[in-house]
């Protein structure tokens, strides 16, 4: 059956799959968001250790999902991988740099003779959770605001801005998207910690986390509203049947109206996040992470679908409209997409064992006595 799929269908399937991975990554940034809450919610060593150890048992999943996102884009849309990573050199290098710092910080933080000291490793986690996520948001923002590149006949990229991608962070739209993701990650991080930690005799700690969820949500709101309103009002990039790219007024509003399912995903996602915040802040619930996580995934999907479907170049070029990348001109060959689709049949199995192991490991909340031994983070 897969072998008989149209090339265009395969391209769409792979944009959906990449969007799913990207959206799951946005959910899993609760790890990064949680890291940044450390100074705000933890008032002693035990609380700090609970935060770090709780998140430290999930950091690999976030990290791996980011790697998979890169790998899937490389496999399915190699022109995007080559153009964006090669062109927007500094934005990607800095993002990666923050993830390198994060990868060792859990393991090394409390180990004796760790050379840099616990505070430095904790600051690495803070850098990853703020700068890293902010830049990821700015990079995603360029799906709508465009980038500064041209492609020659051989599809080799020339970046026309000397900041090599960092200029993305100076656009108000991109910056707002980045800041929204930072605060949303903090909301998710707070909810995850509330769900994962045993708060016996630590009511204050729990209260601080609930307050942090609400405050960070309120901080996220203005950036979210700015992004949404801008998205609906802005001129967008459109591609016609002949492959010619042009600017169209209210393109992304038109996309939403043309794709009611995407509009639904966006609205349901936002409502789920809001409900999650309310039940966490005011109802004493610890289940908010699941609603907010699902909400974040749905919002993420709507953002990626908005950028890539309905004749929209998902990686547009401001410098040369005709160099813009669409899911049609940036994709791998039909053979590779077909082979990859067979491989993707294994994804449900992977998700199933992740869910099984997660539920088994988290069946019992993380307690203070577990984070005090020498093997803990």
């Amino acid at each position: 059956m897969i072998a008989n799929l149209e090339y265009a269908t395969l391209q769409q399937i792979w944009w959906i799959l990449c969007s799913v991975v990207g959206s799951l990554f946005l959910f899993l940034t609760f790890v990064q968001g949680g890291n940044t809450l450390l100074w705000q919610v933890a008032k002693n060593d035990v609380e700090s250790s609970l935060v770090i150890n709780s998140l430290g048992r999930k950091w690999e999943l976030t990290f791996t999902t980011l790697v998979l996102f890169g790998g899937a884009l490389f496999a399915a849309f190699p022109k995007f991988y080559a153009t964006s990573f090669g062109g927007a050199y500094w934005v990607w290098m800095l993002i990666l740099f923050t993830f390198i710092l994060q990868a060792v910080s859990y393991e090394y933080r409390k180990k004796p003779d760790n050379f840099l000291g616990a505070k430095v490793y904790e600051s690495f986690l803070l850098i990853n959770g703020t700068v890293g996520i902010l830049l990821i948001g700015a990079a995603v923002g360029t799906f709508f605001t465009g980038s500064n590149f041209t492609l020659n006949l051989y599809n080799q990229v020339t970046w026309t801005n000397p900041l090599r991608g960092l200029e993305a962070a100076f656009s108000l739209f991109n910056l707002s998207l980045g800041l929204f993701l930072v605060f949303n990650a903090r909301v998710l991080g707070g909810m995850y910690l509330l769900n994962n930690i045993d708060f016996s005799a630590m009511d204050d700690f729990q209260g601080r986390l609930r307050k942090a969820v609400l405050i960070n949500f309120l901080c996220a709101l203005p950036f979210l509203l700015y992004v949404l309103v801008s998205l609906l009002m802005m001129k967008g990039f459109s591609v016609d049947a002949a492959g010619v790219v042009s600017m169209v007024a209210n393109k992304y509003l038109l996309n939403l109206l043309a794709m009611p399912l995407v509009l639904g995903l966006l609205l349901v996602g936002l409502v789920l996040v809001i409900v999650a915040v309310l039940i966490t802040a005011f109802k004493g619930s610890t289940k908010g992470i699941w609603l907010a996580g699902l909400g974040t995934v749905l919002v993420g999907l709507s953002v990626f679908f908005l950028a890539g479907f309905n004749n929209t170049p998902f990686y547009p070029s401001k410098a040369d409209l005709q160099s813009s990348l669409t899911i049609v001109n940036a994709s791998s060959s039909r053979y590779t997409l077909t082979a990859m689709t067979y491989v993707a049949l294994g994804i449900p199995f992977v998700l199933a064992y992740i869910a099984y192991v997660w539920s088994k490991m988290d069946a019992k909340k993380l307690a203070a006595h577990e984070v005090m031994d020498h093997e803990a983070y």
Binding site: E60, L61, F63, T64, L68, G70, G71, A72, F74, A75, A76, P78, K79, Y81, A82, T83, S84, F85, G86, G87, Y89, W90, M93, F97, F99, I100, L101, A103, V104, E107, Y108, K111, D113, N114, F115, L116, N152, L153, Y154, N155, Q156, V157, T158, R164, S332, S333, T336, V343, G346, I347, Y353, I354, V357, W358, K360, M361, A363, K364, E370, E375
Partner: protein
């Protein structure tokens, strides 16, 4: 094609080599130590002996310290294909991306998911499930190596693909040919088994140190027995797979084989250099002797390269300047054909842009006739096709000498430990400590043989490294080079300090 700034190429090359070499400090240990931890834990589960549990947890702690920095250095490698080699990424993304994505879906998640159970699940899951998780981490780690090595093997021996002039890239035609290429199989088996050897040397080294200090004697002896058996099997396998790798080099990358053997003039019944010193003044085509001195084993290179004694093994001069008698086409001739292919491709692309179908069809016909040597069209001189001979030669021979030494070492440790006199072997124990560093030297030399020997090609015969780079100002790459060099060095120092501290603390209760 764009003009090439050679300093950019060399800095990009240096950055990738630096990250790869740092990564390869940690990865082989992960590959092998994960299996050793699984073996220690299997013995614990089977015997119920708590001492084996303490042994498992001790080695697991060291595994975790190493694993974290391996992951940290690994992520940058994946993305450097895009950031620094974007022309390459586009040209081969259709083939190279697929193994990387499969690696992400199947291998990395296996590792990532069960890693948490392995470290934090002792009191949260059953004994059996914990053991299962440890094995899954080991399998996941090694599967990760499979996919990246498949991709690397494809660069050494590109199969299962065709060049599409419309998109100006290589496109996959046979996934199974890519996956089961003989080079991929030998590369995977050779690299992973070298990891098994290195991890075994790590266990032997630390255990030897404990025995010298008279600490944790029982744990050290138990660990040595398991590691020596695993290391011995691993090193025998390394030898077999190394032989296979050399054979594949001879078939598909004869220039690499000639370089690491320092063979300039091809000959029948060629001898294998057992010991030698390269004459650094020697250049291809001149009459100087390639060695200041050498000791050769007669006929062995012919046997190694062709599985046939007395057979002809081409040298660097034969491959660069051609050898009519042996029907070997020289690089100069290939360059002429390649230059035509490059020009025809440009003409085709221009005609397509101008929508001139007649000119495009003519250019395509000419290109198709010449495309086999497309990559040679980018070389400036025939001699550019020769990799750095000294580096390749010394890397190969140091690796081989050390690879021959390790099984002997494992046999000695196994023999004296089983005999019960290992603590009295004061000459052997320091050698055991030193052996871990020798293992690292062998591993790094192995990568140098594979990757320096591949030069000047990013993809053997099809794409030189110099046209694979991203079009960047060299200052950007210099900045990131030093940024990563700084952070990796800091993290390496931290890792060594933490590791040595943990070793000095030692395991609990055994």
């Amino acid at each position: 094609m764009v003009d090439v700034d050679l300093s950019l190429v060399n800095w990009s090359r240096a950055q990738f080599a630096m990250t790869a070499m740092y990564h390869w400090i940690f990865v082989p240990l992960t590959l092998g130590l994960s299996f050793l931890c699984a073996m220690f834990e299997s013995i614990y589960v089977r015997t119920g002996n708590e001492k084996w549990k303490a042994i498992t947890r001790f080695w697991m702690t060291l595994f975790g310290i190493n694993f974290a920095i391996g992951v940290a250095t690994g992520i940058i490698l994946e993305f450097e294909f895009g950031t620094n080699w974007s022309n390459y990424s586009w040209m081969v993304g259709d083939i190279f991306g697929a193994p990387l994505a499969v690696e992400g879906i199947f291998a990395f998640f296996l590792e990532a998911t069960f890693f948490a159970v392995m470290f934090f699940g002792w009191d949260r899951v059953s004994k059996g499930f914990h053991l299962f998780s440890t094995w899954m981490v080991a399998i996941g780690s090694n599967l990760s190596a499979l996919w990246i090595l498949v991709a690397n093997a494809w660069m050494q021996y590109p199969v299962g693909m065709a060049f599409n002039p419309e998109t100006a890239r290589f496109e996959m035609e046979n996934f199974w040919a890519v996956l089961f290429s003989p080079v991929a199989i030998s590369k995977f088996t050779h690299a992973t088994s070298s990891g098994f050897v290195l991890a075994s040397l790590f266990v032997v080294a630390i255990s030897s140190w404990y025995l010298l200090k008279g600490r944790h004697v029982e744990m050290a002896k138990k660990s040595i027995i398991v590691a020596s058996v695993f290391g011995l099997l691993g090193s025998v396998y390394v030898a077999f797979t190394g032989d296979e790798a050399a054979f594949e080099n001879a078939q598909h990358q004869p220039m690499k084989l000639a370089a690491y053997e320092g063979l300039y003039k091809g000959e029948n019944n060629a001898g294998l250099v057992a010991l030698g010193m390269i004459n650094s003044a020697k250049k291809p085509g001149d009459s100087q002797h390639p060695f200041l001195f050498e000791v050769k084993v007669p006929g062995l290179l012919s046997l190694l390269a062709n599985r046939e004694s007395g057979s002809f093994v081409p040298g660097i001069d034969d491959l660069v300047y051609g050898n009519k008698e042996q029907k070997i086409m020289g690089v100069a001739e290939k360059m002429k054909i390649g230059q035509k292919a490059v020009a025809d491709l440009a003409a085709f692309k221009q005609a397509r842009k101008e929508k001139n179908d007649v000119v495009a069809a003519e250019a395509l016909t000419r290109f198709t006739a010449n495309k086999e040597y497309l990559g040679y069209g980018y070389l400036s001189t025939p001699e550019e096709a020769v990799p750095p001979v000294s580096t390749a030669f010394y890397s190969f021979h140091i690796m081989v000498v050390l690879g021959t030494f390790f099984p002997v070492l494992f046999i000695a440790f196994l023999f004296f430990t089983l005999k019960g006199s290992i603590r009295q072997q004061r000459w052997l124990l320091p050698l055991g400590v030193l052996s871990f560093f020798l293992g690292h030297v062998a591993g790094q030399m192995g990568w140098a043989v594979a990757e320096v020997g591949r030069q000047p090609w990013a993809i053997q015969g099809l794409m030189p490294v110099k046209v694979a780079t991203t079009n960047l100002a060299v200052g950007h790459v210099q900045a990131t080079f030093f940024m990563f060099l700084g952070v990796f060095t800091l993290l390496l120092i931290a890792e060594i300090k933490i590791m040595t501290k943990q070793i000095s603390i030692g395991p609990e209760g055994v």
